[in-house]
Subunit: 219 residues, 2 copies
Amino acid sequence: MEKYIPVLMKTRLFSGLGEEDIRAMLTCLQARLGTYKKGEYVLRQGERTGDIMVLAEGQLHIQRDDYWGNRSIINAVSPGDMFGEAYAAPESGPVQSDVLAVEDSAVIFFDVKRVITVCPSACRFHSIAVQNLFFAISEKNRRLVRKLGVMSRRTTREKLIAYLSEEAKSQGSSTFSIPFNRQQLADFLSVDRSAMSNELCRMRDEGLLEFEKNRFRLL
Amino acid sequence: MEKYIPVLMKTRLFSGLGEEDIRAMLTCLQARLGTYKKGEYVLRQGERTGDIMVLAEGQLHIQRDDYWGNRSIINAVSPGDMFGEAYAAPESGPVQSDVLAVEDSAVIFFDVKRVITVCPSACRFHSIAVQNLFFAISEKNRRLVRKLGVMSRRTTREKLIAYLSEEAKSQGSSTFSIPFNRQQLADFLSVDRSAMSNELCRMRDEGLLEFEKNRFRLL
DNA sequence: CATTTTCTGTTGTAAAAACAACCGACTTGT
DNA sequence: ACAAGTCGGTTGTTTTTACAACAGAAAATG
């Protein structure tokens, strides 16, 4: 777990805490480490969890598959990102999505109850972590609303523009990489892959953007 | 404000608290009341707020209008519902959506800082409220993901089925009302009104459901 | 009560997306 | 190095949606 402390320091959940503080918290919160090979599931729909998780290494997709095999990717999780916090509340039922490792990954688990309850030893970082958790969830909330904004676009082109603009903005550059290949991007935007591929090339021909693999540049 | 205490008692934010406790909290948190006529805006895109709000009476829509006048309704807010909590974090910028009163409404405002900071008088309900707030946000989070599930449906019919099923489930009956007229439902699902109206009637003719105005029954 | 406005359903047309099938380039694994 | 599989782009067809325009019913207004 030690080797992931630098990643944790950049996590919203631990922002404002130093290396030593985090080490103390890992113990205090009884953090556990899980590793997953590419293609393995961290969580499957219907399972229950009382954990908040942070991705330490690799790449995850949060997704749902319907009865007809149509896949819908809800979110991509990168190192330092937190997930599972929506199921923190005791009354929240089983998880409603799959969490798939799309690369070999390492995940750190924290028991929610230990995070939101003041610990017996009154560890002094605890209150900071609670507030961080709160801010992290509200940030996740805004992210979901932004995704709704993308999904509410009527045409594939508009969805692409909305998504790519957001990505450029959040990465602070008109040149950026996305955590998806074409099929995954289509599943993320809920459109047909071939139609999307078509649209992307048309936009490239019109001079709106350039791309190569999962690297894009908006013009 | 006194007359809205029964509503507040049913709010997730104050669950587990008695009438007296809530009265104490209203003071402790310096709650303010705002009233809005039908058609007025509680918040407009670009404004900043450090408040968490609870709808005491009436009906609100959280929505966005794009440059082309295309409206997208993100959520309907009913009495007892909380909103604005996503902008609780200090680093969250201005609000990204409009909050419109679709009926004459009353809204109670709470300063976020006062909620998440322990009050000087160490009011004993405070810690309960913080935990409730946390659970309420994570519940909102799950609701947003469910909406993403609806929006990720490819066809208008699938969106309708997904939305109406969720509504039936959450209202615990196959007969239920929705907080939208046809145009609003279309804006909520991001589809064309006439196409949706068409699809609804076709589904009715096929015996999938019945409806009259905003009242539906799934068969 | 008459008038205006809003709401809902209907129809026809044009645009867009889904679907299916295929191909060549590139990876992966053995 | 070869076979198998993945990935991205292309094309043609079918289905679905968006758009526009209209009409009757219901609701709101004065």
